[in-house]
Structures are given as structure tokens and as C-alpha cells.
């Protein structure tokens, strides 16, 4: 035992992730701000297709989640894992593959998402080749983590590592199963699941990406950096055990609370609700273990920006994880869903919990890595202050906006009509959007202060890439549990078993919900009149996905009188059986479109043409982007047959004749739409005389798709 071995911690990899975290943090927040300003000045980037809202919004969420928080997690993980296991990482090569591979993924995302290459599924928008790359990089990270555990010099693995293991295993499972898709071309694929099944798998993923990419890794960081920075022992080891296992087991069941009042079978919806309620205390276990670790260090919290940030982060975590279960109650969800309430909720999570734990960690780490004091504590305190105020300015107006919009949506006049048009509700929120953008500006400014502070600290310090350390080698002991050994203590030295058990814990909930829905055909009702899309409609739907229309327009009418009045008959699960992927959306910045082509919502082709060309020419208060490029660009349907064949493999009953005649059918339908437009004398003068051959343009496909929406069900009556 006395014989100590010398080895070197790899600080080089930590520094790489440190730089990347700060760089991508600034980038993600800047894009967020660009998007926030579109709500106030909808035309300031007009007619630049790759800067339209539908394409930037996925870029913002992906950058914030995977680029900023992802790099932040890896930064803390690579630093703490080596020290907690008393060894260098298993493989320097894997560490670098992890780093550069992850940056490559981000750069590819930053290129492809603005180009409109996306699979539409939230936080999983990247197309299949990048999905494969993510899987490889993620497995490299996991192999490195597990390899490091195996060669460790510390008998037991600490709670931070438990959370890292769970993060690795669960994200791998979620990513792979949610992104099962059939490639059609290099940049286009269709989800193997359709409609309601796709929705469930997506929100099993979406919810648990929040859980296992934005929560468990951050808890792991908290368990290392909070006691380190406060120099206090962790409050309760037992609480760590209980809340870790209950958290990961219960979390995975809660996904369906994103689909309350939808066409998802109700037994699954209700499981989402009850497991969300049961999740409150496992989540709070992490919060109280974090906050109570600061017992006896509160005098330090008052002066140390690192600890201040940790306190706000953990408090934000506690707030968000209480609010989440409240939002999972059907009666609360009925108000909050589709509104900005949800946007406020998630930003408490990202700005306070993720953003501040990462910022606090960076301030602490840069001093350790560069063996010096922080360039300016005052500046860090300023960051803390304006960041906190920024969070308040961001979230409070959006909470109000969400509640207000939901109330306006459902307000009826005494004569039984809806009091407000959709755009009335949007207009009412304009001041809140301005305040939100102000809050976001403050938060970004604070983070830029961090970047400057860190840069200056790096300048004055001296970095040691390979840090000398020593520890005694681990003597071999029996793998069997010793007589007086606590079972969990035993498990903490059986790392492979630990990994397997934590994976089993997260598989159960998902399987109970997903397997019956995917394989039991009685779960989805059958509607005989629901038919596959025509070739032109299919191309239109793919353009709808490309433009990210689903980021603002839902296609899921809930069974409420006000929604039925505004949008038509509520949605049925059987209506979506040919939708690969589903396009239910999660936020209504614009009205629901599920029945856009049907009675109540129907408009003629000319209306759609002019509205897509310039929404403000039809509704002056609209904040929708204009889509002039749909009118100037020719429709490319060269992959049509491949698309239809692909969909047929997934169960869409296209016949051979339909596929071989697809191009002709497409051209005919496009010509028909063009003819209705060209019949108008104003259109002749304004467009045909200028040489526009509208039948060749993308807009015919989009109009065809919009006119089809919601019409199948009417035929059954």
C-alpha cells in the first residue's frame, strides 16, 4: 500500500473542452438572441432562407444542448474522472477522438441545419450520417470512461461517476432508438416509426435527453465541483444512493407528459403524469444533497462567485424539477402546453441550472489548470449578477406570456364565438418578447464577461498539460461481496455490473410504454379513409420539414371546445399512420395546421401563395417569415421514387403503378394548382407576365400538402 505510483493527469484534453465550451456557449446564446429578435422584428433577416426561424431554432437548441452543455459536461467529466479514479484517462487517442469528433458533429450541424437538412424530431434533427457519427463519438467517450474505470487506482467509484455512467449508457440507448430511420439519400431519411408511435418514441427521447444530457451529467459535475469548491464533505451518502437509483429509474417513464391530451393512448399519457409526480423527490434529492453540502460554508457563498453560481444553479434545478411535474398534471398542461410557459420552463433549466453550474465550474477549473488566481473576482461577480437578472428578465415575461396566450385562446364571447383571432394573441405578447430578448442579452453579456475573464486568467497563469500525481496501486481483492460489506459499496467496485444495472433501470420504463404501442396494432385506431400522400403532397411535406414549419405550427388538435372551434375536429391517432415522421409540434407560435385544408381552415390556393410569399400582405401583424424562395426555386423531385419506395418499406401502401407513375402524377397535380392561380387576372399581371412558371416551383408542393391536411377524416362522414 505504501508503494505509490506516479502518473500524469491529462490536462490537455480538459483545456480543449474548456475552450470549446466557451466558444460554443457564446455561439449558442448568440443564435438564441437572433431568434428572440425575430419575434420583435420578424423581417430583419427576411428572404435569407438559411436564417429563417424554422431553420435557426433547431440550430439554437442543438447548439445550446449538445455544443455548449455537451462540451461543458465533457470538460468537467475529463477533469474529475481522472482525479476521482486516480489515473490518467484510459486512452489519449480516444480522448482526442471524443473531442474532435464532437466538434465535427457540431460543425456539421451548424452547416446542415441552416441548409434545411433535418429529420424534424426535436433535439434529434440531425440527419442520419451525422447520427451515425454521433453514435461513434459517443461510444468512443463511453469506452474511454469505462476503460478508465477499469484501470483505476481508487477502489470505489464515487457518485459523480455513477451519474457519468448513466449519462453515457442512457443517451446511447435514446439516441439510437429515436433515430432509427430509413435513408433515402445522403441528406434525407424517414423515421421508421409513424405518427403516434413516432411521437411517443420522440418524447421518450426528448424528455430523457433533458434528463440524461442536461440533468444527470450536471448532477455528476455538481457532486465533484460543489464539495471541491466549498471544501465541505457531501451531506449524505445514503441520499446519493437513493436519489440516484430512483431518479434514473423513474425519469425514463415520464416522457408521455409531453403528449397530454394528444392522440396518444391515455394509459400511456397517464403513466407519464404519475411518474412525473413521483419524480419530484428523487430530483430534489440531488438539490438538497447539493445545497446541504454547503452547510457550514454559507459565509463563503456570500463572497465566492463560484459558490454563488452553484447555489443559483442548484436552486434553478430544484425549481425546474418541481415545475416539471406540475406541468405534467393534465389540467395544468392544458394551459401551458403549446405556449411560451414551456419556453420559460426550459430556460430555467438551461440558463440557471446548466449555464451557471458550467460557468461556476469554469471559474474554479481555470484557476486549477493555470495554477493562478482568477483575473478578476469582481468581473465574475458582475457576471453572476447580470446573469441572474437576465434569467429573471428572460423567464418571468414568458411565464406571463404563456398564461396570457392560453387564456386568450380559450376566451369565448357571450354569443359563443372565440373572442380573439390567433394573431390577436400573438400581438398581445409583443412586450413580453421584447423583455425576453433583453433578458437574453443580459445573460449573453454575462457569459462574454466570463470569456474575457478566463482568457485573461489563462494569460497570466501557466498551464501544465501533464500534471504529475501519485497514488498507490489497487491491490487485487475478491470480486465477491465481503461478509460485512454493504451491498451498494460492493456494487461501487463492480463497475461493469454497475453499468449494466443502471442500463437495465432505464430500459424498463421505455419498454413498457413503447413496445405495446409499436407492436400491438389495436393501440392505434383505424380510419379507412386515411390514405397516403400523393407524390406532390409528399414533396410538399418534405419542404415543410426542411423549412422547420413544425417549430411554430402544431398538427395536433386537443379535445377542447376552443380548439375544436378554432381548428376543427380534434385529432385521432388513426390519422397519422402514414406520417413518417410525425409533425405534431410542441409550440404554437402560429396556429395549428392539422386541418388546414379542411372546412373550417380551408383557404384557396391564391391565399396560400400570397401568404407564403409575404405573410404580412395578408395579415399585417403576422410574424411568420416570408418564403419567397419557394416561389423562385424549382421543385426538385428527382428522388421521388426512392422516397416512395423507402416509405413503402416502412408500411405506406404505395403500389408499383403509383411509384412508376409518380412523376407524371406530380406534374399533373402541380399543373392543376398552377392553373387555379393563373386563372386570376392579378396573378397573370404580377407573376405570369414576369415569366414565372409556377407549376415548376416548390410552392405548388407546399400548397398541395397544406390543402391535403385534415381532409381525409371528413370523407368518412
Amino acid at each position: 500500500m505504501e508503494q505509490k505510483e506516479q502518473f500524469y493527469y491529462d490536462n490537455g484534453i480538459v483545456r480543449l473542452f474548456l475552450r470549446a465550451t466557451i466558444f460554443w456557449g457564446v455561439t449558442a446564446m448568440t443564435i438564441g438572441l437572433m431568434v428572440a429578435f425575430l419575434f420583435i422584428f420578424p423581417t430583419y433577416m427576411e428572404n435569407i432562407s438559411w436564417l429563417s426561424f424554422g431553420r435557426l431554432r433547431p440550430l439554437h437548441t442543438n447548439a445550446a444542448i449538445f455544443a455548449f452543455v455537451g462540451n461543458g459536461f465533457m470538460l468537467g467529466m475529463y477533469y474529475s474522472t481522472q482525479r476521482l479514479l486516480k489515473t490518467r484517462m484510459f486512452s489519449d487517442a480516444l480522448s482526442r477522438i471524443n473531442f474532435w469528433g464532437w466538434q465535427l458533429v457540431i460543425v456539421l450541424a451548424a452547416i446542415t441545419l441552416p441548409m434545411g437538412m433535418n429529420s424534424s424530431k426535436e433535439y434529434a434533427e440531425l440527419e442520419w450520417p451525422i447520427d451515425i457519427l454521433i453514435t461513434l463519438v459517443w461510444v468512443a467517450m463511453g469506452a474511454n470512461l469505462i476503460g478508465t474505470m477499469i484501470k483505476r487506482r481508487q477502489r470505489h467509484i464515487y457518485v459523480a461517476i455513477w451519474f457519468y455512467i448513466s449519462t453515457f449508457a442512457t443517451i446511447a440507448v435514446l439516441h439510437i432508438f429515436n433515430n432509427l430511420e430509413l435513408p433515402v439519400t445522403l441528406t434525407k431519411s424517414y423515421s421508421v416509426y409513424a405518427g403516434v408511435q413516432d411521437a411517443l418514441v420522440q418524447w421518450w427521447y426528448g424528455h430523457n435527453a433533458v434528463a440524461f444530457f442536461l440533468t444527470t451529467p450536471m448532477l455528476g459535475l455538481m457532486y465533484y465541483f460543489v464539495p471541491k469548491a466549498a471544501n465541505r464533505p457531501v451531506y449524505s451518502y445514503r441520499l446519493s444512493i437513493i436519489h440516484f437509483w430512483s431518479l434514473i429509474f423513474i425519469y425514463i417513464w415520464a416522457g408521455p407528459h409531453h403528449l397530454l391530451y394528444t392522440a396518444l393512448p391515455e394509459w400511456i399519457q397517464n403513466l407519464g403524469t404519475v411518474f412525473s409526480v413521483m419524480l419530484i423527490f428523487p430530483s430534489w434529492g440531488g438539490m438538497i444533497n447539493g445545497l446541504l453540502t454547503l452547510r457550514g460554508a454559507w459565509d463563503k457563498v456570500r463572497v465566492d462567485p463560484v459558490l454563488k453560481m452553484f447555489v443559483v444553479a442548484i436552486t434553478g434545478y430544484g425549481m425546474a424539477t418541481f415545475e416539471g411535474p406540475m406541468l405534467a398534471f393534465k389540467n395544468v398542461n392544458a394551459i401551458a402546453h403549446y405556449t411560451d410557459w414551456i419556453i420559460a420552463h426550459v430556460h430555467i433549466g438551461t440558463l440557471a441550472w446548466n449555464g451557471f453550474i458550467i460557468s461556476g465550474m469554469i471559474y474554479w477549473l481555470v484557476q486549477k489548470l493555470y495554477k493562478t488566481e482568477l483575473h478578476s473576482v469582481k468581473m465574475a461577480n458582475t457576471h453572476f449578477l447580470i446573469g441572474t437578472v437576465g434569467i429573471l428578465f428572460y423567464s418571468i415575461p414568458l411565464y406571463i406570456a404563456g398564461f396570457m396566450q392560453a387564456s386568450m385562446w380559450k376566451e369565448f364571447t357571450p354569443t359563443g364565438t372565440l373572442k380573439y383571432s390567433f394573431v390577436d394573441t400573438l400581438q398581445a405578447m409583443a412586450p413580453m418578447y421584447a423583455m425576453r430578448a433583453f433578458g437574453g442579452t443580459l445573460y449573453l453579456t454575462g457569459f462574454i464577461l466570463l470569456a474575457i475573464n478566463v482568457y485573461k486568467t489563462m494569460k497570466k497563469g501557466s498551464f501544465v498539460g501533464d500534471e504529475l500525481a501519485e497514488a498507490a496501486p489497487l491491490p487485487v481483492v475478491s470480486g465477491k461481496r465481503a461478509a460485512n460489506e454493504h451491498w451498494h459499496s460492493w456494487l461501487e467496485r463492480k463497475v461493469v455490473l454497475f453499468t449494466i444495472l443502471s442500463t437495465v433501470a432505464i430500459l424498463i420504463g421505455g419498454m413498457v410504454q413503447i413496445v405495446p404501442l409499436v407492436f400491438d396494432s389495436s393501440q392505434v385506431e383505424k380510419i379507412a379513409t386515411v390514405k397516403p400522400y400523393t407524390p406532390l403532397e409528399l414533396e410538399g411535406r418534405d419542404i415543410y420539414i426542411r423549412e422547420g414549419c413544425n417549430n411554430c405550427h402544431s398538427q395536433m388538435i386537443r379535445p377542447f371546445r376552443n380548439e375544436v372551434e378554432r381548428y376543427g375536429e380534434f385529432s385521432k391517432s388513426g390519422e397519422f399512420v402514414y406520417d413518417h415522421p410525425f409533425l405534431w409540434g410542441s409550440r404554437r407560435t402560429g396556429p395549428d395546421l392539422q386541418r388546414e385544408g379542411a372546412e373550417k381552415r380551408h383557404k384557396d390556393n391564391m391565399w396560400h401563395f400570397r401568404h407564403l410569399l409575404d405573410p404580412r400582405s395578408i395579415e399585417t401583424r403576422s410574424i411568420m417569415p416570408s418564403y419567397a424562395w419557394l416561389i423562385s426555386d424549382d421543385l426538385d423531385y428527382s428522388d421521388l421514387e426512392a422516397k416512395m419506395k423507402g416509405l413503402r418499406k416502412l408500411g405506406v401502401p404505395y403500389t408499383d403503378a403509383e411509384i412508376s407513375g409518380a412523376k407524371t402524377a406530380l406534374e399533373k397535380q402541380a399543373a392543376g394548382i398552377a392553373a387555379t392561380l393563373e386563372a386570376d387576372s392579378g396573378f397573370q399581371k404580377e407573376f405570369v407576365a414576369q415569366g414565372l412558371e409556377v407549376k415548376k416551383k416548390e410552392i405548388t408542393a407546399v400548397i398541395a400538402y397544406l390543402q391535403r391536411l385534415g381532409t381525409d377524416i371528413g370523407k368518412s362522414k
Binding site: Y224, P233, Y237, E266, M278, K330, L418, H602
Partner: protein
């Protein structure tokens, strides 16, 4: 902190006294991080158990009660029907309202027109997506009753929505005002008139 307060707090957390925390300090040492063996806070355990019990009850009761979310819509509609029955005067639709000619009503009508109609019919009535309203050719009949009906009920399968219902619907008085304003456009000269549509000449 007063003694009373402290005892209340410690009863709820059962946290070990910080002064004597060495007694419960575990022999763990992870890169200098140690762990205390504080018991689970009783409030936390109680809360956890309560949420589990609530959840089980909720789930069972939902099935026992044969609750269906669709029933909420049915109840909402039934409630509205009852209200409608109790207040028939609010739902009497009169399509025989006279055209208004006073300046105040026409101004009100113009304001409604500008907000709701000008997008398709243009501010001066010249027409764009919708037909020209200044000529005397009509697709669905001219005159007060026809115009009021078209505005109230809309035209199926066109962008002309029904203004008596749906989001941002207009009251009967508002529809009367805007119909009157539309009729007042007859014979005016718009900047970019759309060619006449419709087969009904009104007045003959």
C-alpha cells in the same frame, strides 16, 4: 437562529450537528472529497412516499372512473348547449338587417374592413385574393342581405371565412357595419382594380 427554530428544522432534516460531524464522516476519500452519513431527511422520505401513494391512487382511479379525455370536450359542449338554451336571445341570427348610412357606422365599418378584409380585398376595395368590391358584378349576390350573409357564413372552400364564428369573429352589429361599408364602395374608383368576377349583376 433561535433554539426553537433550530429544533423544528433539525426535526425535519435530522441533520447531524455540524460541530460533531466527524462522528458520521465516512472513510470515503475521493480526490479529497469526503462524505457524511446523514440520514435521509424525514420530510424528503415522507414526501416521496406521499407522491408514490398519490400516483398509484390517481392511476387506479382514472381507470376505475373510466375517465376519457374526450368526455371533457363533451361536457364543455353540453355546458355550452345548456347556456345557449337558457339565453336564446343571444343566438338569434337576423339576416335582414338594414344597410346603415350614417357617417359614424360607416367609419366603424371602415375600421373593421381595414383590419379584417383589406388583406384580400385591398384597402380601396380593388380586390387581390378576393374579388373587386367596387364593381357591380357579384359572385354571391349584391345588396345588403347577400353581402351580410356572405360575410357571416363565409364561402366554403375559399379563403372567405365565416365571420360570425371562429377566432376573432365579428358581432352582428359589426357585420352590419362592415357590410354597409362594403356597399358604400360601389362605384368608387380603386387604384388597381381587379377584373370583374361573378355572374350576378347587382343592382340589375
Amino acid at each position: 437562529m433561535s433554539n426553537e427554530k433550530k429544533s423544528f428544522w433539525s426535526k425535519w432534516t435530522k441533520a447531524h450537528d455540524i460541530e460533531t460531524e466527524e462522528e458520521i464522516l465516512l472513510d470515503h476519500n475521493y480526490d479529497g472529497i469526503q462524505e457524511l452519513d446523514n440520514v435521509l431527511p424525514p420530510w424528503w422520505v415522507t414526501g416521496f412516499i406521499i407522491t408514490v401513494i398519490i400516483s398509484i391512487f390517481y392511476y387506479i382511479m382514472i381507470f376505475q372512473g373510466h375517465y376519457k379525455q374526450e368526455d371533457e370536450l363533451k361536457a364543455e359542449i353540453a355546458e355550452f348547449q345548456a347556456y345557449k338554451k337558457a339565453n336564446p336571445e343571444l343566438f338569434k341570427e337576423n339576416y335582414d338587417l338594414p344597410a346603415l348610412t350614417d357617417a359614424e357606422s360607416l367609419a366603424a365599418g371602415k375600421a373593421i374592413y381595414t383590419t379584417n378584409c383589406a388583406a384580400c380585398h385591398v384597402a380601396d376595395g380593388g380586390g387581390l385574393v378576393g374579388p373587386n368590391l367596387t364593381d357591380n358584378m357579384w359572385k354571391h349576390g349584391g345588396g345588403m342581405k347577400n353581402v351580410f350573409t356572405t360575410i357571416s357564413d363565409g364561402v366554403p372552400n375559399t379563403a372567405m371565412r365565416a365571420w360570425k364564428s371562429g377566432g376573432g369573429a365579428l358581432t352582428a352589429v359589426q357585420r352590419q357595419q362592415v357590410s354597409s361599408f362594403v356597399l358604400s364602395l360601389q362605384g368608387t374608383t380603386p387604384a388597381n382594380p381587379k377584373a370583374a368576377e361573378g355572374s350576378v349583376k347587382w343592382p340589375e
